[in-house]
């Protein structure tokens, strides 16, 4: 890994650095993900993993049809996922559009993080001024985590300086709020691009790197997660700073979630097995985790009517 002497800001300097990162062999990365998915997690290990996965959920609603009532209901669920069982932990955060941030904050108080998607989510196609306004708005409404999108057009055009500049500006607008940078890996297409975008985001000030908006056909996949976990591992080795990872979109079952925990353990390491450094962006995942948890407690499946729909 190259040493970063000083912050890289220009497109030329960034290109030089990002294009010198080791390539990613797609076949090999996919094979590694497949091999790790055969890990068999049972009994105590499974119970522990399910509770950790619940604590890592960013419970999400990002719909045009979101209403205050919908957001309040989801917040109640986030605080107390299973009303019949007080031992179930709360999730990490709720994730909403910026205009719902105030309602979310009022619902969860100081108990949970409120994440707001901003910067003309999901496309990111707006002027920097509009994006920054979006961010400030959400922070003012009580969001303490901002999920921004990178300008994929600029990234794919090789205009790394512009992508960097926007992340730096958004980070400044966040103030004390944590910044998650969505790479939208389904649009970046190659794992080489995922690695480069991960480094670009980390160097520009991301606290988290996040796979997807959930609004394009390909969302989080295990090979993408592996490459991002390698990036945060290598960035830590270089700088001593741990950046978080958030796969989002398409993770619906406990089995999938546990596979991601295995990927973390065997790629970035145990240090990342905490909600401070790993989140699941998900909506339906939580109920499957709850059903699995109930099954482990009572010995059989309860069924979807025994978990709440919010």
């Amino acid at each position: 890994m190259q040493k970063v002497a000083e912050p890289l800001t220009t497109t030329g300097a960034l290109r030089e650095f990002l294009h010198a990162l080791p390539g990613v062999d797609e076949v090999g990365a996919t094979a590694r993900a497949a091999a790790l998915s055969t890990r068999s997690i049972k009994n105590e290990a499974k119970a522990w993993a399910i509770d950790l996965a619940i604590r890592m959920v960013d419970l999400t609603t990002l719909e045009g049809m979101d209403t205050p009532a919908k957001v309040r209901a989801m917040c109640a669920k986030a605080l107390r996922p299973d009303p019949t069982d007080p031992t179930v932990p709360s999730v990490a955060a709720v994730c909403v559009y910026g205009d719902m941030a105030a309602i979310a904050r009022a619902s969860v108080g100081a108990a949970l993080h409120v994440a707001a998607v901003a910067t003309a989510f999901p496309s990111g196609r707006a002027s920097l001024e509009v994006k920054l306004h979006d961010v400030r708005d959400a922070v003012a409404a009580g969001a303490d985590e901002i999920d921004m999108v990178i300008d994929r057009g600029a990234f794919l055009a090789g205009n790394y300086g512009l992508v960097n500049e926007q992340i730096v500006a958004v980070k400044a607008a966040c103030g004390t709020a944590h910044l998650k940078v969505i790479l939208e890996t389904g649009e970046l297409r190659t794992l080489d691009n995922v690695r480069r975008a991960s480094w670009l985001a980390m160097m520009a000030g991301a606290d988290f790197i996040k796979t997807s908006t959930g609004k394009v056909p390909v969302a989080a996949t295990p090979p993408v997660a592996i490459v991002m976990l390698q990036a945060v591992r290598d960035y830590y080795a270089l700088t001593g700073t741990r950046i978080g990872v958030k796969p989002a979109g398409g993770i619906r079952t406990s089995k999938d979630a546990i596979k991601y925990l295995v990927l973390i353990k065997e790629t970035a390491g145990e240090a990342w097995l905490t909600p401070d450094l790993f989140r699941f962006g998900a909506s339906t995942l939580l109920n499957d985790l709850l059903m699995q948890r109930q099954r482990m407690a009572i010995g059989h499946y309860s069924g979807p009517d025994y978990v709440t729909i919010d």
Partner: protein, 489 residues
């Protein structure tokens, strides 16, 4: 708290192991005339699994005679389409009984269930499917208009991939119309004997497949038997040489798949994370008991340090232990004898001044185990750089230029396989032309497929197994059919 995987044991209840096994001759299990039995042991627990028959000369005679009868009366006169029917049936039965085979293989061999379940058994079935497809198409294999079978094939296989090596040997032989006498290695006979049951289940005509068990002496009787037309051997180079000496001046055909000391070459533009996986797959797959293992790692100097660091980090996640645990990566060493040999070579590495690093693994109390070991500061003169260790021991050397990598990679009496890691396609093609090895992997390692030929250069043997080329090992070529017919009629 840390994320500790709870034990996830594959149940051994699916397989029933008999207290003792006879020899499989002419479609039936028979007691050995010698009356001598030997024990087969689970290398992970040192528990005796069963008693196995030791075949003597009269047993070998009976097996060869049975194979000869089946060849003349049934198998060679049957249409290719009908032979295919049996082979497809065997392939399907292997799939249906896959879990049984996987558990038995792991018990008898010590390899992790993850590997026997995901690699050995599915590949064995795939070989039967593949060669079943050839059985009625032999005239299109490029070996002449009407290629003829050789007759009776004597096949001697090793202990590292017991069922898979059986499939590599039996599937092409049968597809081409030969009958076989196969001897598994003495420490791993059980899956071959279970395969004999599959042959019965598939209604394979008696005598087409004969499986006789025993050690080196029994193997020698097969090699020297006058009624055999072809010997196929996979195993050590020393035994391979003695077989070739024994066959000199006879009419028997021979293919040998012997040892290796493969170079796994990593260039500075390689996809490093995947290359590290390739190094692990190359040398720690099946505890390094792989003839084509990437046992010599050649690193370009500019990335040597960071790659070794990444490799050590990765090796700390390898899980050594109960082979039946689905999360085990490194199983047991197949025999005490092999473990001693590995230890001896590790000691030579220490004595000759290489720097040893051993992965931090808890070694179980019982059984035979060897933690993944990496030697750095290895020079080409060290024994660990020249001799096949056949264990989880990696020797790391460095190079500066592609020319030097080629020279070092080829500087070995072996030539079975090699690996090249670079993002540059032109370099892959150039290197592949320079390397003297039968199999060359680019940006991967230890990948196998029935459609792809496998075999060596130099002291790694000759002849090819797998693919269309694998048919040539069991068919008469146009030039030798006359000679052969006279000799055998």
């Amino acid at each position: 708290m840390t994320f500790e995987y709870a034990p996830a044991l594959e149940s051994r209840a699916i397989v029933s192991i008999a207290p003792s096994y006879g020899l499989f001759i002419n479609g039936e299990f028979v007691d050995p005339t010698s009356g001598t039995m030997f024990k087969t042991i689970n290398p992970a627990t040192e528990e005796v699994l069963a008693e196995i028959s030791e075949a003597n000369q009269s047993d070998v005679n009976a097996a060869v005679n049975s194979a000869r009868r089946a060849f003349e009366r049934t198998w060679s006169v049957m249409s290719g389409r009908d032979r295919a029917k049996y082979l497809f049936r065997i392939a399907r039965l292997l799939q249906e009984r896959a879990r049984e085979f996987a558990v038995l293989e792991t018990l008898d061999n010590g390899k992790p269930i993850r590997e026997s379940r995901d690699i050995d058994v599915p590949l064995a079935a795939a070989h039967f499917f593949y060669y079943a497809g050839w059985a009625d198409k032999l005239e299109h294999a490029g070996l002449g208009p009407n290629p003829q079978a050789l007759g009776v094939a004597g096949q001697i296989i090793p202990w590292n991939f017991p069922l898979l090596m059986l499939a590599w040997k039996i599937a092409p032989a049968l597809a081409c119309g030969n009958t076989v006498v196969l001897k598994p290695a003495e420490t791993t006979s059980l899956t071959a004997l279970l395969f004999a049951e599959v042959c019965q289940q598939a209604d394979l005509p008696p005598g087409v497949v004969n499986i006789i068990t025993g050690a080196g002496d029994t193997g020698q009787m097969i090699v020297e038997h006058d009624g055999i037309n072809k010997i196929a051997f996979t195993g050590s180079t020393d035994v391979g040489k003695s077989i070739q000496r024994a066959l000199a001046g006879t009419n028997k055909k021979l293919t040998l798949e012997l040892g290796g000391k493969a170079a796994n070459i990593i260039f500075d533009d390689a996809p490093i994370d995947q290359a590290v996986e390739g190094i692990v797959d190359g040398i720690f797959f099946n505890q390094g008991h792989v003839c084509c293992a990437g046992s010599r790692l050649l690193l370009q100097e500019s990335i040597a340090e960071e790659t070794i660091e990444a490799l050590k980090r990765r090796l700390q996640t390898l899980r050594l232990g109960d082979p039946l645990d689905k999360n085990t990566d490194i199983g047991a060493i197949n025999s005490r004898e092999q473990l001693n040999k590995i230890h001896q070579l590790i000691k030579s590495g220490d004595d000759e001044g290489a720097e040893r690093w051993t992965a931090p693994c808890e070694i179980p109390e019982k059984g035979w185990w060897c933690a993944p070991t990496v030697f750095t500061n290895v020079t080409a003169a060290h024994r660990i750089a020249r001799e096949e260790i056949f264990g989880p021991v990696l020797s790391v050397l460095t190079f500066r230029t592609a020319d030097e990598a080629v020279e070092k990679a080829n500087n070995t009496p072996f030539g079975l396989s090699a690996g090249i890691w670079t993002e540059k396609g032109s370099r892959i093609l150039w290197m592949a032309n320079q390397l003297r090895a039968g199999v060359i992997w680019a940006n991967t390692f230890n990948r196998f497929d029935p459609t792809s030929p496998f075999g060596g250069y130099k002291e790694s043997g000759f002849g090819r197994e797998g693919g269309i080329q694998g048919l040539g090992a069991y068919l008469q070529s146009a030039t030798d059919s006359d000679v052969h017919a006279k000799g055998m009629s």
